[in-house]
Subunit: 221 residues, 2 copies
């Protein structure tokens, strides 16, 4: 349901081909959505049948011809209707957190390896995002033009970036905690886990949670 609005949103600013749209999804918009060409092309055809967009064939030399789409009045109305509709809180999906949840099934060394590897992957992502952000910032400064669209795309970029940074920090903190709780993975005779009282890790545990427990004082409303 959201893909169509991603397309309509894009076409509300520029006209574009399916191939162009895919590139936007892979670039800036990758922070909040992604899609395959094999889903974009049929969706464009559907949108045109519903009169929300219109196409024109552009012959090209040296490259294959392309089909450029523009948004219609009715399409813009649909987009605005969607923008004003209340957003349901999203149901999260995070495969790495799921793996983490069940990591008592593998050895501590493997846990630490996984956490480090994932941190590395996230770091690579944040480096790429940083590049996108500084390039954008530079081009905004150069063109010296500010618009609502530029503002809103920038705040979205910020959200994506800070999300990454925080995930990396979480990896670091968690690696530290696991490192100091290694003994929880030890197996005594009979392949049974040793019984460890909570008090043995209470300080470490509370320290790890300190930044969110401090929030307790701040009022939430």
């Amino acid at each position: 349901m959201s893909l169509r609005f991603g397309i309509l949103g894009l076409l509300s600013e520029w006209e574009a081909s399916g191939y162009d749209i895919k590139k936007e999804f892979d670039d800036l918009m990758s922070i909040f959505w992604h899609s395959h060409l094999s889903q974009i092309y049929p969706e464009l055809n559907k949108l045109e049948k519903e009169n929300l967009i219109r196409s024109k064939l552009i012959p090209q030399e040296g490259k294959p011809d392309k089909i450029i789409y523009t948004i219609t009045e009715s399409g813009k109305k649909e987009l605005i209707k969607w923008l004003l509709a209340p957003t349901e809180t999203p149901k999260l999906k995070d495969v790495f957190l799921m793996q983490t949840f069940f990591m008592d099934n593998i050895s501590v060394e493997e846990v630490l390896f996984k956490l480090n590897a994932y941190k590395k992957e996230r770091t690579q992502r944040v480096v790429k995002m940083k590049q996108i952000m500084s390039e954008r910032l530079k081009s905004i400064k150069e063109r010296d033009v500010m618009k609502a669209r530029i503002l809103m795309s920038s705040v979205v970029l910020k959200r994506g970036y800070e999300q990454e940074l925080q995930y990396i920090k979480w990896c670091e903190d968690t690696i530290q905690l696991v490192e100091s709780c290694k003994f929880l993975w030890e197996k005594s005779e009979g392949n049974r886990a040793p019984i460890v009282p909570f008090s043995a890790v209470e300080e470490l545990f509370m320290n790890y949670f300190s930044d969110i427990l401090e929030e307790e004082e701040k009022e939430i409303n």
Copy 2:
């Protein structure tokens, strides 16, 4: 592909029925996954056919009979194989960020309304999570037993919680920024947006980005 491992992971600790599994998905595990009963039941049957889990019928009085599943050796092996496999960095989907990206199409008042409403919804979620967390913490303290599984579920909870807090803070910061950039939504004659030089918002803009720009100094690796 992940649902099956969510089920196997759960069954690696306790035996459970489809109905029990659904409740876990709705509770703690909702931070990283969710699923409908209509998907869980067929998946359980598939897993049993593949010999990864085994079922037994438990007759009950006063309640309908239920089918309890236990994990097999082969199931546990599959789970561990998955836990050790490298995790692809997830492709994010966030409908609210997508809406935000295109909010130049609605009025500032509507933008601010949407941001406030979403902040409220996220806040409700964080309140619920807080309850879950303090209940868990209390019960861990009372039972005075620490295990790797408890540690790992706690770190996942923390991730979910801090993610929510940060989203709320982003809403607040963004509301402030939009508030001070209201004029970007103004329309002059001919329904055209006024041309605003970047310098007019540079200070606000840079201030909004300050926390992530400061990270520039810290080295990432």
